[in-house]
Structures are given as C-alpha cells and as structure tokens.
C-alpha cells in the first residue's frame, strides 16, 4: 500500500503524510474497525434502544407494545418504592464516600511517613479491594450476625446492646456501608499514595524554612492543598462506585427488611430481569445513566484542571 502511495504524484486529500511516508488512512480504519463495530453493537445501539424503550410499555413476552410518551417517568415520580430506593442509594453514598476517602487519605499519609513496613501495610489495606466481594460479603454477614457475630460479641463485651444489623431497617444500610467502606478504602489509599509521591520535596523544605515544624501543621499547609485535585478525583470515583452498589444487596439483603435496603440498581434489576417490565426498567436505567453522566462530567472537569495544575 505504501509503495502504491509513493507513485501518486499529487497528494490525495484522503492520504496523509505520516513519518515521512504516505500511509493510506485505510490502515487506521482497519485497525479501529473491530472495536468500532463492538462499540456500535454492545454500547451505542443498546443505549439508543434503552432510551427508546423507556418511552414504551414493552414487557418481555408481549407481542405488541405502544409508545406511551413520558408515562414511565411519571410512574416513577409517583412511585414511593423508586424514591425510597433512590434515597437509600444516596444514603449509602453519603455513608461510604466521606468515610472511605478520609480513611484512605489518613492511611496513605501515615504509611507514606513510615521508614519501615510500608509494603506490609499497603498489601494489608489493599487486600479487600482484590477479594471476591460476594464471598467476603458472606463473611461479613456472619461477622455482623445478631447473636453469633464477633462484632456483636465485642459490642456486648463493651456493655452495649447487641444489634441485629441485617434485620433492623435502621441498621441495614449502615451495615452494607461498612462492607463498602472496607472494600474501597484500600483503593482510595493507593490513589492518594500516588498523589503524595507527586508533591515536590522542596515544598516541605520551604515550609520548614517558614517555621512550620509540627507534622499536623505541615499536613494542613502543604500536603492537603497539594492533594486538592487528587482528593476531588477520589471523591467522584468513589461516589460513582458507591452509586452502583448492587452485589451486597442482591446477595445479603435482597432489599429487605421492608425495602429498607432497596437501591437503584437492585430495583432496576428486579423490574427488568425478574418482573420483565422492560419499559419501566428502561426508564430507571435512563435516570441511572443521567446521574452517572453528571458525576462523570464533574470528574472530567477535575482531570482537566489536574493537568493544568
């Protein structure tokens, strides 16, 4: 192909110079084609369809369906179950994000300040991230068990009343959040650690010259401001992950007790794949996509700013 291009006297508009030779854009297209076809088939077309289906009353197995406009969305706004699931999800996010971010930052800063044993702590804190969450969720259910769980043994030993975490509507979301925090903190710690290593040593030296000696003061005047963009990035990434909570709910609580742990993706799963109300489930999916996209846009803004930093 290159040889052929070399014989062409006038530069063809479709052909570009690249590295001194004329390379037909056909190579670019050929290399990108498999991925593009997959993108069309498993991403773009399905998203278009899910948006279209959210305006229909389609149910799996039905022979016909009709367009119902915004009816599915109207159903959702009137549906207390949907609002409850949305609020539960936000409650979960509100519990998981601050805790796992602050803890991740604290662990990263402390481990980074050590002379010995950094590797050991990093492995210990990162272990939950790689574990199979479903298997570990089963362990957690046992740990938090109302009568035989070690956590309740501890509570009783401290003279506190024991808590039936997964049977009490007030405690089921915090219990799920504990599992989420446990699973995410190590991940955030690694992100903060890479942010910390990017802070130039001279800044600490300069702060010492300015008379900032205590580690705490140094943390608030140098470390924290320099970690600003990293922190925002971690907050959004964690929010997106937390917003997608599904596994622990599906395995441990199935939305119970009394819908106290229904979350957005779980009711979406039930509507779509258990009750087969495709139209309504599509509408929930669109709402879900909208929220995720807003969070992602904020994240993209932060990454841009981080580059200019």
């Amino acid at each position: 192909m290159t040889d052929l291009a070399l014989h062409t006297p006038a530069p063809d508009r479709a052909q570009r110079r690249r590295f001194g030779a004329r390379i037909s854009p056909a190579f670019g297209y050929a290399f990108a084609l498999p991925s593009f076809l997959l993108m069309l088939g498993v991403l773009l077309l399905p998203i278009a369809l899910v948006i279209a289906m959210s305006f229909t009353d389609y149910e799996l197995g039905a022979t016909e369906f009709s367009f119902v406009g915004l009816e599915n969305y109207a159903t959702l706004t009137d549906d207390r179950g949907f609002w409850k699931a949305l609020i539960n999800t936000l409650y979960y996010v509100a519990l998981v994000v601050p805790t796992s971010v602050v803890l991740g930052l604290l662990l990263a800063v402390l481990v980074n300040g050590l002379t010995h044993g950094r590797k050991f702590y990093q492995v210990a804190f990162f272990l939950p991230v790689t574990s199979t969450l479903i298997a570990m969720a089963t362990v957690w259910k046992y740990l938090l068990h109302g009568t035989i769980g070690p956590v309740n043994h501890l509570l009783v030993a401290l003279g506190l009343p024991s808590i039936e975490f997964f049977g009490d509507p007030n405690f089921v979301m915090p219990a799920l959040a504990i599992i989420g925090i446990w699973a995410l903190t190590g991940f955030n710690m690694v992100l903060f650690t890479s942010g910390l290593t990017a802070i130039p040593e001279e800044l600490y030296e300069a702060s010492a010259v300015d008379g900032i000696d205590s580690p705490l003061e140094r943390f608030f005047t140098v470390t924290l401001p320099m970690l600003g963009p990293t922190t925002m990035f971690v907050v959004i990434t964690t929010s997106i992950t937390a917003f997608k909570v599904f596994d622990t709910v599906a395995v441990l609580t199935r939305g119970g007790p009394q819908g106290a742990s229904d979350v957005l993706l779980y009711i979406n799963y039930l509507e779509g794949f258990q009750y087969m109300r495709i139209g309504l489930a599509s509408a929930i999916t669109v709402v879900f996509l909208g929220i995720i996209l807003i969070l992602s846009l904020v994240q993209a803004r932060i990454i841009e700013r981080k580059v200019h930093y």
């Binding site: 035989i148 993706l265 779509g272």
Partner: protein
C-alpha cells in the same frame, strides 16, 4: 536517654513512628480480620460457631472436614473453571480488539479519529447496567442466553483498554516505526512485533485489572446465566448460600476461602501490576 531516642528516630523507630505503627496495626487488623475469621471458621467444627463467647482459635480441630464437605456438595472446581474460561475469553478478545484501535488512535491520521476517541471517553462513563436490558433481549431473541458467550459479550469491548493503550502507544518513538517501514515491514507486523512488546507492563497491568473485575463480577452472570454448571465464582457462591449447605457456616466459609484464594494469590504475586493499573488511570 536522649541519645537512645535520637538513635531510634534515626533508624525509623522514634516515638512518632511507633505511634503511627500502632495506629496502622489496629487498622490493618480491622482490614484483615474478615479474612482471618473466614479461614478460622473454615477450620472449626460447626457447633463451635454457635458458642456465645469469642475464641481466637478453634477449640476442637477438624482439619479439612469443612473443605471436603464444601467440595462434595458444591462444584467449586467447576465454578473456578467457569471463572477462568470467562476471564480468559474476555481478556483475549479485549486485547485483540483494543490494541489495534488504540494504535490507530495514537499513531494514524484518519477522518473520524477524534469522534472515535470521544466515543471511547463516553464509553468510559457507562457501566454495564446501562446497555444490559437491550443486550439481554438481543441474547434472548438469538437464543444465546445461558452460555459462556452471553457472559463475555458485553465485555469484549474495553474502552478502558483502548484509553490506556492509546496513552502508552503515543509515547512510542515514531522513528522506530519509520525505520521498520523502511525495512519493509507491514503495518500489522510493526504493531504486533515491535510496538506491542514495548507495552508489556501496561498490558500486564490491564490483564490483572480485567481478570479481577470479571472474576468478581456478579451482576451480568446473574442476569444471563440460569444453569448452575455455568456459574462463575460469585454466582456459584450465591447458589451455594441458598442451598441447605449454606446454613453450615463451616462449609460456607470453606467455600468462600476457596473461591477467594485464586485472586489473593494472583494479587500477592502481581502487586506491582495491580498498583500500577490503578495509578496509571485511577479507574477501577
């Protein structure tokens, strides 16, 4: 006294460092405790689970009884083999499709390149739950639900891999590509024999990331798989919990230990790649 103190500080065991170690050890204990408890329970007789008091070690040692029980009553090997097949299938197709696309985006000029890259960035934000319904319907209408293929399909495309490899390929020197062309190498050959080998660390990091994600994924297998013999580890664990065997904590924890072990071992051997995978992009 003060000399001892300054000596300790110099070798990294001053009072401040000791306090940090103490705090971190408490945190590490809390993080690792679930793993400890899982393994402990797997080696305990089931009646001990219901003791009202807390014990650090089994009061009576039963060896591998719970593991034998778990393997006898649930096809744990099968679950893991399924996990392996699905992860391997996904990874191979991801690499074969993402690498050329990333190379095209990094080193070629063609119309629509920018639009394609914008689509990649958009794809990065979309979790699998969004295209799930139409994909499920498509699989249902073609009669391919409940198969290995159905479990792998949504993940054949990895926009994350495209994004990651594009970054890596962009820093590959153009001179080398040019020299290879002058030597008469074809474009395809240049990519796979010259550019790809230079990106091995990134490919390893991505492989570890992809295997972890799909070994642990519950959502999609739960949607498309109905036959227990096709279940990957998380779905297998879910079935296992729901059978009467699931009421025996000892065997349940033994099963959890077995299904968690492969990734733990992978992590301990490939830590570098895990950490690099995260720090390269910060995407989970």
């Amino acid at each position: 006294m003060s000399r001892v103190r300054s000596f300790l500080t110099r070798i990294g065991f001053g009072p401040g460092q000791i306090a940090m170690h103490l705090f971190l050890l408490v945190c590490a204990f809390a993080m690792v405790f679930p793993f400890y408890w899982m393994v402990l329970t797997a080696f305990r007789p089931s009646q001990e689970v219901f003791l009202p008091t807390f014990h650090w070690l089994p009061q009576e040692f039963v060896g591998f009884d719970n593991f034998r029980d778990a393997f006898a009553k649930a096809p744990l090997w099968r679950f893991m083999a399924n996990g392996l097949i699905v992860c391997a299938g996904i990874l191979v197709v991801q690499l074969l499709t993402a690498i050329p696309c990333a190379y095209a985006l990094a080193k070629f000029e063609f119309r629509g390149r920018q639009a394609l890259f914008a689509l990649v960035l958009f794809g990065l934000c979309v979790p699998v739950q969004v295209p799930a319904l139409p994909l499920y319907l498509g699989l249902a209408f073609t009669g391919t639900l409940d198969s290995y293929f159905s479990m792998m399909l949504p993940f054949f495309l990895s926009v994350f891999a495209i994004f990651l490899f594009r970054q890596v390929f962009r820093s590959f020197p153009d001179d080398i590509i040019h020299a290879a062309r002058l030597d008469g190498m074809g474009e395809f050959e240049i990519l796979w024999r010259i550019v790809v080998p230079s990106a091995k660390p990134a490919i390893a990091a991505f492989a570890v990331f992809s295997i972890t994600a799909h070994w642990n994924d519950l959502y999609w297998p739960l949607v498309v798989v109905t036959s227990p013999e096709l279940a990957p580890p998380p779905l297998g664990m879910m079935y296992f919990r729901d059978t009467d065997l699931g009421s025996s904590f000892g065997s349940l924890m033994a099963a959890a230990t077995v299904l968690t072990a492969p990734l733990m071992i992978l992590f301990l051997f490939a830590q570098r790649h895990f950490i690099r995978g995260i720090t390269m992009t910060g995407v989970k």
